[in-house]
């Protein structure tokens, strides 16, 4: 029962809608009959209104940049993994990924061999060593497990709604007996690597062919303000293990603007002149294909299905370039072996040259092979 005595204890909770129905009705009843308490209620309502109307302060301009630096320093000190968006420096990230996957494969193979009795207890030491080697990357393995889990979870809900084509795994290697696949994190990737390794083995023996593809997908996002959206897209991409390859700003003039610009060729074009023309930003990156559907879903969720158009994969057969690169690498290898037999002091610079060429060819082979597991994504962000 609300009276003048306990009115003050409840007035704020009443305004904040934190009284239960019974208390609220009792409060209403008292206020109707007591002019003094009604005045107090009105004053307090006004004061609370003034407080809730206070505008929020904007973040200082350099807040995020400063914070980023501090976070990176802390992460470095804690010895954890830091992902930063950077310009490409070869396929370092992809190679690391492949190394981890190869490590997992070793563990899987060792496990299955043991299961089928290929290893005697005396030989077990070997497999334990490989297991230990692979376990040096626990954080990355955990990440991969997480990524794969969510990737497979989202693949069913995507089911054509976004028009994403089925992934085309075309690594046509002879199937090996699959070791305990599915029970270990990253099994998909391990299986792909396994197929690839098997194919490489066969190629070396001249007994089979390896097919590789390069896949390109274009996603178009319509945005009110492309500049702010591009950061969100980058973050979503990084969260899905993408490596940002490049992004560039493309400003497209509207037709009328182009005409105006041509008419006044000498006139300096100012920022204000761009206002009429649609602005477009492009962002390029590579992404593990297991993450691609999840990334597309995330974009849809973030910007709304109406603003996101996911194009179909454009697949290019890269088998020929791969075979050429392998041939080149083998030929360079042979020439280096021949040179080594001769007087090495005379051929030092030639040898260096060959080494560099072979490294370039091997790098190309790595990149081409990874094309099966990664998608090249182009994001076009169009201003509205």
């Amino acid at each position: 029962m609300i009276n003048c005595k306990n009115f003050r204890e409840n007035v704020c909770a009443y305004i904040d809608n934190e009284l239960n129905i019974k208390e609220r009705l009792s409060f209403d009843e008292h206020v109707r009959s007591c002019r003094e308490c009604k005045r107090e209620l009105d004053e307090m309502t006004q004061i609370i209104g003034l407080c809730t109307d206070l505008p929020q302060q904007e973040l200082p301009v350099d807040f995020k940049a400063e914070l980023h630096e501090k976070l990176v320093t802390v992460a470095d000190r804690q010895g954890s993994k830091v992902i930063s968006i950077k310009k490409p420096n070869g396929f370092h990230f992809l190679r690391t990924f492949a190394t981890i996957a190869a490590g997992l494969l070793l563990v899987l193979l060792a496990g299955s061999f043991y299961k089928f009795g290929f290893f005697s207890p005396a030989k077990m030491q070997d497999s334990t060593n490989s297991a230990a080697l692979a376990m040096e990357q626990p954080a990355a393995a955990k990440d991969e497990a997480l990524a794969n889990d969510s990737g497979s979870a989202s693949s069913t809900e995507m089911g054509g709604g976004l028009g994403v084509q089925a992934k085309s795994f075309t690594a046509q290697a002879p199937a090996m007996a699959a070791p305990t696949a599915g029970t270990v994190a990253g099994a998909d990737r391990s299986a792909a690597v396994q197929n690839r390794e098997a194919a490489v083995g066969q190629l070396a023996a001249g007994a089979g062919t390896e097919t590789v593809n390069s896949r390109l997908s274009t996603i178009t996002v319509s945005a009110e303000d492309p500049n702010t959206f591009i950061d969100k897209i980058k973050s979503l991409a990084v969260a899905n293990n993408a490596e940002i390859v490049d992004n560039q700003l493309t400003v497209t003039f509207s037709e009328s603007m182009t005409a105006a610009k041509q008419a006044n060729a000498d006139q300096t074009v100012t920022a204000a002149d761009y206002a009429g023309g649609p602005e477009q930003q492009r962002l390029y990156f590579t992404m593990p294909d297991t993450q691609y559907e999840q990334f597309a879903t995330a974009l849809n969720n973030e910007f709304g299905a109406a603003n996101v158009q996911v194009g179909a994969f454009v697949t290019e057969d890269m088998t020929e370039p791969l075979n050429r690169a392998i041939k080149e690498s083998n030929a360079l290898d042979n020439r280096m072996q021949e040179l080594e037999k001769e007087d090495s002091t005379k051929n030092a610079s030639k040898m260096e040259d060959l080494k560099a060429q072979k490294e370039a060819a091997d790098k190309r082979i790595d990149e081409l092979r990874l094309g099966n597991d990664f998608v090249n994504v182009t994001i076009l962000v169009n201003g509205k």
């Binding site: 904040d16 109307d53 206070l54 973040l59 980023h68 976070l71 802390v74 954080a139 969260a239």
Partner: protein, 198 residues
């Protein structure tokens, strides 16, 4: 928590800076505004908000998800702000009316009053200034509950979880704070009226 947020949280726990930055994107401004309200100036609020976010990043691997992420973030920010206020109190503060020693003898330090003129009172900007300075003049525990409730829009229950106290305590604390605020505003109004009469 959405599945996206859950993934970002897991990655943040593994020390992934980019994921952490995405995770806190929606909270940064709130953290900054809470710090601003508690510490009272823009520059210090920036430093304090960053300190809170660093502390959140450092301890996110220990976040047990027993409370919601936002409650946990508010709790850490609140603790960082209260720590800073306590530290500040221990530092020597220049008194506004202390004597200044000059060659011609001692004189009283005079500070210009920030109070707005009565005829400008109705202007929104001035009114906001009055409310701001009134909130700033409250003790920090009262300032905190008013900020969490009125500026951040948390319910009594949520405030209770942030401050780790029962909702009943939150109710009485908010009540005390609002009446204290009202008293400050009334005394300001009286002061202004007196000046106007002169």
């Amino acid at each position: 928590m959405s599945s996206n947020e859950q993934i970002l949280l897991e990655k943040s726990k593994a020390g992934d800076v980019a994921a952490f930055e995405m995770l806190i994107e929606a909270y940064q401004k709130k953290i900054f505004n809470l710090a601003f309200r508690m510490i009272g100036n823009y520059e210090d609020a920036g430093d304090l908000a960053q300190e809170a976010l660093i502390r959140i990043f450092k301890s996110i691997s220990n976040f047990k998800e027993q409370s919601s992420l936002s409650t946990w973030i508010y709790r850490i920010t609140t603790n960082v702000c209260l720590d800073e206020i306590r530290k500040k109190k221990n530092r020597k503060v220049l008194s506004l009316d202390e004597e200044i020693h000059i060659e011609d003898g001692d004189m009283q330090r005079q500070i210009m009053s920030d109070d707005p003129l009565p005829d400008e009172l109705m202007e929104k900007k001035e009114l906001r200034q009055i409310i701001n300075s009134a909130i700033d003049s409250l003790p920090e525990d009262q300032r905190l509950v008013i900020t969490l409730r009125d500026i951040q829009g948390l319910s009594y229950d949520e405030i209770g979880r942030v401050l780790e106290c029962p909702a009943g305590t939150v109710k009485s604390r908010i009540n005390r704070a609002r009446f204290a605020l009202k008293n400050v505003l009334i005394s300001k109004r009286e002061l202004l009226n007196e000046e106007y009469v002169k």
